[in-house]
């Protein structure tokens, strides 16, 4: 009798578990991603830099640095580095001489050049593509990014799947709607960067953009970049996959690879695969040259996944005069990727930062921006990345989370809060221009990372 009950209970537990498993993806994201930190900023704006909920407010909270981390990953992250302010701050003295008063954090200048575009701070909205979620919030994010003066990316497949200027799918803005939502809201900072993958090349996406009269004034002004995509952080070496409605699939069946011919299947949806795209050093070199010839008035960006030969990519891009390379670490977001890819393929974001540090030491100067992506979302991440040679942080998911909770205002709040946070940290380091931040400002909690990055290990006498 007991055995029977236990068995039934076990079965029930398994069934419950099974129904939860189908929610995977969303649940993993909520459990694993620092959702709270972003939500707080999206809702509260600048005030969100403080860890206060509705119950704890100024003077009423008792908080210390958290040492227990939920879902501690099996690899090291940028959070294994800390920022180390000095007591003696000659730069603060300089700033004081300039201002004739004690400087405060709001005096910190965050303006930087990012890949040939002027940005109000070293933060960039990653090029997100045609997936439902990226598409749905794209307009709110575009407007907010434009108004806050940070560059904004438009990912692959948007033209092919959502339409160039006419909507191909109901409820989803076309490419043109996205790009114009950004450009028409931009002031003196910012710019847009646009991807084209194999399938978009079929539709001559960049050619279309380059000769589009509505975009021309912005191209002339130097506010447009084209971004070559060589793999993705979450699934380096694999192409994208997305589920499409059968009737939509029929329209693009010559451009994509389908496991099942959408004309022959009677399923409602089919899975569409896009190719990862084949590169060699020669192909990349040729591609950049071809782009510089065909599109002399746009900047050229190269986004690359966590590949072991990323330094070769950086070298070729630099030699050919590209304006930026972005390394997307394995923690980078994605519309869909096989679990095994997310778990096993490629290296963590922090290794991308090691590569950037190495590239800078190798002589890649600031004629070319180097950016880092993959689970980076706050002011500390920005400052640490800058300190180690990155030009900016390239992020996607925080903006989506902020848009989901509070639309355009949420995204603007999030950006502003991150800006204030960044300014606070830079000023704490005794500096008043983000460009002055350098490797002396960081130290490592981990010995291996310290060695790899050439920075001090905190628990040692060299520090």
């Amino acid at each position: 009798m007991f055995e029977w009950l236990a068995l039934k209970m076990g079965e029930l537990a398994l069934r419950l578990r099974a129904s939860l498993v189908t929610l995977r993806g969303i649940r993993d994201f909520i459990d694993d991603y620092p959702i709270d930190e972003i939500l707080l900023k999206a809702i509260k704006g600048e005030e969100g830099v403080y860890p206060f909920g509705e119950l704890a407010s100024y003077g009423a909270a008792m908080l210390g640095a958290p040492i227990n981390r939920r879902g501690y990953p099996r690899f090291l992250t940028i959070d294994d580095l800390i920022l180390v302010p000095p007591a003696f701050t000659p730069k603060r003295l300089e700033k004081m001489a300039e201002l004739l008063r004690e400087p405060v954090f709001t005096d910190v200048n965050l303006e930087v050049d990012v890949g040939g575009l002027k940005s109000s701070m070293p933060l960039v909205v990653a090029s997100m593509g045609s997936t439902d979620i990226a598409s749905r919030y794209s307009i709110a994010i575009a407007k907010a990014a434009a108004k806050e003066g940070i560059p904004f990316g438009i990912g692959e497949n948007v033209h092919t799947v959502r339409g160039y200027d006419k909507r191909l799918t109901r409820g989803h803005p076309s490419f043109k709607e996205r790009v114009m939502a950004y450009l028409t809201n931009m002031d003196k900072y910012g710019g847009v960067f646009i991807q084209q993958n194999v399938e978009d090349a079929y539709d001559e996406h960049w050619n279309k953009v380059y000769s589009d009269k509505d975009l021309e004034p912005y191209i002339d002004e130097g506010r447009v970049a084209f971004e070559i995509k060589i793999g993705q952080g979450a699934k380096p070496g694999l192409g994208g996959v997305i589920r499409m409605r059968r009737e939509d699939a029929v329209k693009v069946r010559e451009k994509y690879h389908f496991l099942e011919d959408p004309l022959k299947t009677n399923k409602k949806t089919v899975e569409r695969y896009s190719a990862p795209g084949t590169y060699t050093a020669d192909i990349l070199r040729g591609m950049i040259r071809l782009m510089r010839t065909s599109y002399p008035r746009v900047k050229i960006w190269v986004k690359v996944g966590p590949f072991r030969d990323v330094l070769d990519v950086i070298r070729v891009a630099y030699e050919e005069g590209a304006n930026a390379v972005i390394i997307d670490g394995k923690e980078g977001g994605t519309g869909m990727a096989p679990s095994v890819a997310m778990k096993e393929l490629g290296y963590p974001t922090i290794v991308g930062l090691i590569k950037i540090r190495e590239a800078r030491l190798m002589g890649i100067d600031d004629r070319m921006s180097l950016m880092i992506a993959g689970r980076l979302f706050n002011g500390a991440h920005i400052v640490k990345s800058r300190a180690l040679g990155a030009s900016a942080v390239y992020a996607g998911r925080p903006f989506v989370v902020a848009a989901m909770v509070k639309g355009e205002a949420g995204v603007r709040n999030f950006i502003r809060a991150t800006r204030v946070e960044t300014q606070m940290i830079v000023s704490a380091l005794g500096k008043y221009d983000i460009r002055d931040v350098s490797h002396e400002d960081v130290a490592s909690l981990n010995k291996d990372l310290a060695t790899a990055l050439g920075i001090p290990y905190v628990y040692s006498r060299e520090f």
Binding site: E199, S211, G286, R289, L290, T293, S294, G321
Partner: protein
């Protein structure tokens, strides 16, 4: 040191004020029948007919065979600086209107040996091409290809063709040219040949900044063209600055066995040509440079395998640009009836 043709200077003065130039060009294009009937243009069109006749005479005498050009196909020449292709729906497949017949020239060279097309092309050029004076959206080129030909063979045909046609027009239309105020010298081949690197060095010396690894910029090309009073060749372009079909020099990796011929007097590019890549794997890698899926070019790749090794060389020469040069016109929009220029329409 040559000098810039007055017609080219007049064109440059026109485009200085972009707004009034656009107004002018809109009127020019939208009501083209009004000027087409003027004496000057009647003469231009007659000379154009003679140019085509002279081209055919010369090529036929050299053993070339004229073949019918394609108009549409699943793919066309992608090696066109930033211009878009025109797409049509071919029974549910996307077809392109030829931006050049390049891929089909190799096809017909394999069949006939030495071959040429008088070929209509469509290129949806970027809007700023309106200001170059050398770009039309709809134009004709004489496109030729030589089976087992080399770079040098193609350049020699280019020299011979240019010399023959200019002499022919001077003979037949001497008075017409005089009336238009155009004087053409007797051109004597061989013409000067610069490698791309030498050409870049020269334009930089002439005060036009051109990056070393890219195509010669339009402004710099004009400077180079104006510096000479006979056509010149630029050859050995760096890889990546050209379409995938241009063959890489096996003896000089990173450089192509290709060339451009420029008109003198500031008229700019006349001819583009070279040897064709025929190793399928190299062609595939080069197709990737434009970010495309080689599957799109499947018929070409299959043909290259079937006819391996399909070694050819050739070039294309724009008919309107040649007419502009010979008649000394301000821009190509004077060198054909019902001209179509980027971004301006509707017009006949």
């Amino acid at each position: 040191m040559g000098k810039v043709n007055p017609a080219v200077l007049e064109f440059e003065a026109m485009v200085k004020d972009k707004e009034s130039y656009i107004k002018f060009i809109e009127e020019w294009v939208k009501h083209s029948w009004r000027w087409a009937k003027e004496d000057k243009y009647v003469t231009v069109f007659k000379i154009q007919a003679s140019i085509l006749r002279a081209i055919r005479e010369y090529l036929d005498s050299q053993g070339f065979i004229e073949a019918l050009p394609p108009i549409i196909g699943p793919v066309t020449d992608p090696g066109i600086r930033g211009a878009k292709q025109a797409t049509i729906d071919f029974y549910g497949h996307e077809y392109k209107v030829m931006s050049s017949a390049i891929l089909y020239k190799q096809y017909m060279a394999a069949v006939l040996g030495k071959v040429y097309f008088v070929s209509p092309n469509i290129r949806l050029e970027p809007n700023d091409s309106v200001f170059t004076g050398r770009h039309l959206v709809e134009f004709f080129q004489v496109d030729l290809e030589i089976l087992n030909g080399t770079l040098d063979d193609a350049m020699k045909v280019a020299e011979g063709l240019f010399t023959y046609v200019t002499r022919y027009i001077k003979d037949v239309h001497g008075k017409d040219l005089e009336k238009m105020g155009r004087s053409l010298p007797d051109y004597k081949p061989p013409f000067l040949r610069y490698t791309h690197a030498e050409a870049v060095e020269l334009v930089n010396k002439l005060g036009c900044r051109n990056p070393s690894n890219t195509e010669i910029l339009w402004e710099c090309e004009k400077v180079l063209s104006a510096y000479h009073d006979a056509p010149i060749f630029i050859y050995q372009y760096p890889k990546g600055s050209r379409g995938f079909y241009n063959r890489e020099d096996p003896g000089k990796p990173g450089y192509l066995r290709d060339f451009d011929m420029l008109y003198p007097e500031g008229f700019g590019e006349a001819i583009s040509g070279g040897e064709r890549e025929y190793e399928p794997i190299k062609v595939i890698a080069r197709i990737r440079e434009s970010g495309e899926d080689p599957n799109k070019y499947r018929w070409l790749l299959e043909m290259l395998k079937d006819f391996y090794p399909l070694k050819t060389a050739g070039f294309g020469i724009g008919v309107e640009r040649l007419t502009r040069f010979i008649c000394g016109l301000r821009a190509v929009w004077e060198a054909r009836p019902y001209p179509k220029v980027a971004g301006i329409g509707p017009a006949p």
